[in-house]
Symmetry: D2
Subunit: 115 residues, 4 copies
């Protein structure tokens, strides 16, 4: 019986990003420092959607565009460092779970060192 190997979502996106950069010969620019700068710039553009506005009053289309930029650069940076995206995200969730035990952190926005 035939087994269709379905590529995972994260891998699918990475494949498209690699292809995009290969076609433009852009890997040469993608050092760690400039990728971190790119993420910060896009994070700033995402913030701009909320400036002088109440918390949920941003234009959804603008949020969607800028958040996609943050994610695309973050994926490219992970790829540059050969990180397994799922693994580093899950590791961090586990670490945060230890730093913020639910019985102490429940309903509180305090930083872990203030709990």
């Amino acid at each position: 019986m035939q087994q269709h190997t379905t590529m995972n979502d994260i891998e699918t996106i990475l494949t498209e990003l690699r292809e995009f950069n290969r076609e433009r010969d852009w890997d040469q620019f993608h050092n760690g420092k400039d990728l971190a700068i790119a993420i910060s710039i896009e994070a700033g553009e995402l913030l701009e959607a909320f400036l002088w506005k109440s918390p949920d009053d941003a234009k959804v289309e603008k949020v969607r565009e800028e958040l996609a930029d943050v994610l695309n650069y973050a994926f490219q940076m992970a790829d540059k460092y050969c990180f397994d995206i799922k693994e580093i995200m899950q590791d961090k969730i586990r670490k945060n779970a230890a730093k913020y035990p639910s019985d102490k952190a429940k309903g509180s926005a305090k930083k872990y060192n203030e709990l």
Copy 2:
């Protein structure tokens, strides 16, 4: 024959993030504006790994931690807005492909409006 439905990576991570926040009753804090702020803060901490350093001289462990924070907040923000992460990332790659046609953009780091 039994078909195991395997959850894809993005959905797996989102499920863990939702569970993490539900256990701590933290959804109440997660408005769009503060999530955008959180992404910017983490992007700044990621930048810190590269400050006063040559482009690829950052400590990998620090990059890994801070990049995971950026990604985790970006996923939570996408979830808050009910965006399909794969879709918004692929849409943006397509838009960028149109903005930066490979024949013009090849090997150039110029912005699309300077090409």
Copy 3:
């Protein structure tokens, strides 16, 4: 009659910053790119004072510290580029006054291209 030449505030601060860096031999690290990175990192730390909080609920001491960091790096960057701080700030106020004429912009938080 003797005329005491009083150094103005901006020049006084710049003199202290130059002396601080000279004593530590830090000018070698202060290229434009890393100074811009430093400003972004400090801006992120300033943002952290407001995360998950209502607009004026930050700890004043934290705001004071982080804002001073932003200002100190911004002054060092201006100095690196030999900008006259007062002049570039006043120029920008004039440009913004033209972009946002008071009769159109009054009471509105819209961007100039939406007015």
Copy 4:
């Protein structure tokens, strides 16, 4: 003999910024959180001048414009909090001098907790 009281540079700039905002009735938008967001956005635009470039290869005109924006918002935030700009900057220089004693920090870009 007549004594001309000359207004200090910082006070001159603050007076212009206050007048600018008063004419547009913009003080209502200038809470601490949005001013911190505005500084971060401008810091991101300043970073953009250096993206994919060697450390001193940015366009000076762009650096000048964006740095002026960072400074203008930082001054407005200081004013909002009634900070004495000269004082908070000098205080921070003194604190940094204690954190980074010149004999230990000389020629080193390490963080104070790594010295």
